[in-house]
Amino acid sequence: MAMTMSEKILARHAGLDAVEAGQLIICDLDLVMANDVTGPPSIKEFEKIGRPVFDANKIALVPDHFQPAKDIKSADLAKTMRDFARKNKIKYYFEQGRVGIEHVILPEFGIVAPGMLIIGADSHTCTYGAVNAFSTGVGTTDLAVGLATGKAWFKVPEAINVHLTGEKPKNICGKDVILTLIGKIGVDGALYKALEFTGEGVNELSMTDRLTISNMAIEAGAKAGVFPFDERTKFYVANRVKKPFEPIYADEDAEYCATVEINLSELKPVVALPHLPENVKPVDELGEIKINQVVIGSCTNGRLEDLSIAAGILRGRKVHPDVRCIIIPGSQEIYKEAMRCRWIEIFIDAGCVVSCPTCGPCLGGYMGILSAGERCVSTTNRNFRGRMGHVDSEVYLASPFVAAASAITGKISTPEEAIQFGIRNLEFGIKIPKSSKLIRNEEC
């Protein structure tokens, strides 16, 4: 029977030759992941089960949401997770100073690999679909059971074929692709379903683009967003993943419940207006929307390529006097590379705040909370009411191109609009030095 990538990964982990959409199955998990918000309640539930952890080498605990601790209660959460990790000899626990944003570091460190089945107590766990894994977000209780048994139950999802064609324009990145898709199908357009990306347009997308796209699959309600394994994936994982893995390929005659066509060459820079990620509009149709804050970072857009885009636009320019611009590298390695490339200097000279890796402002945690009536252009993933602070604040989701350009102009802008504000011609991203270890592994 012909199967999708999702069906094949689930079948393999259920010990079955084949599965079909709608089937309820129990699968063996390759990795179980939680953060400092979801980990501690999971640990409490786990302890009720009364079993040891299923495999200390297949558990990742990442204190990234409210850490370095923003208050006493958050310090208590971190302590609960730290003590648990030590007691149970959890292999992938990362302390402050070594930790980064969970969905940035797990691919970067090669902990997630093609063909794997992963659950994480964080809705953006779907990010790892970019490296050809089936990976999905769960809650506290599913995670607790995963910690104890290494298993989870799944309903095999139908898959939507997102067929990508055309060449990606220079001012477009993965964020515009996924926002455009969510704008087309809506925030429940893929409810209970998987998104699977196909077509020659996949070749146009860097690993950073793919990680951004898979990351926001949940914003269309999807269970996962899976990319095919190709030369670029192979190159990306080759220098990172230290264990054997088995890539997965969709059958040519796999059945999809729907197909959505996206021609990359037709894409324009877009933003998602408050208060839903489906309220997507091209930036050049917006008129003047003044802003107070810009955030560039997060598990969606906190990678080296994202920072190179921001540095390319901010170099030789100044953040608008009425705007605070907060830049958050997704990992310590990204921070270091950005420093070596002198982008951190560019950011600070432009008048930006540069933070240590954290989820911080994305979920209204800390490090950039909005006051009543304030507007933020953010490269993060959600613009729900009150998401980044006061219930009467507004979040506009955008690419690093649009976010950096808007920081300069003080209003939501295309990168082209930022040209007049600087001494240099507009550059779409700074070329990342070939000597950079991180990027050497990302370009082929």
């Binding site: 309820l24 918000v37 979801t38 501690p40 309640p41 409490k44 539930e45 009720k48 089960i49 009364g50 079993r51 949401h65 409210f66 923003k70 208050d71 209660k73 958050s74 959460l77 107590a121 964080d122 809705s123 766990t125 977000g137 769960v138 809650g139 506290t140 209780t141 599913d142 607790a144 059971v145 104890a148 048994t149 139950w153 309903k155 925030v187 429940d188 409810l191 209970y192 949940i218 309600g221 269970k223 839903l276 979920l363 209204g364 945690g365 959600r382 729900f384 009411r385 009150g386 998401r387 219930v391």
Partner: protein, 162 residues
Amino acid sequence: MNIEGKVWRYGDNIDTDVIIPARYLNTFDPAELAKHCMVDIDETFAPNVKAGDIMVGGKNFGCGSSREHAPVAIKASGIPVVIAASFARIFYRNGINIGLPLLEIGDDVEKISADDVLKIDTDTGTIENLTTGDTFHAHPLPAFVQEIAKAGGLINYIKSKN
């Protein structure tokens, strides 16, 4: 289980950030979470909700973050069942896993208004709107999911298999 209660009615795409905003996620004490449940869209809910009241939403209820704090906050508010046109996937799993029944009724949800009184049999999924006289039937739960619900949640279900 039979339930009779008054309706708190909300719209489409009620996300977990409004069910329990992230600024309250530094605790997972159910009673503390209940104090802030729905605060960003309905400040009247937490102070006025009564045990046995019923929450009704539109489509894609519980979308967004995977925080189980959201169904926990609703359950700890005294809400014994949530009805919606459809539920977001992670919220649905979380509700089942903590023993909070969730009933999906599609477009019939339009026939339920704020302050209506509903009588619900969660075993059969039958919902009577005592205010309007309408009767609806929720989509039945898969047998495996019913087993988890009957055990009172996934932890109890797993323990029973120990």
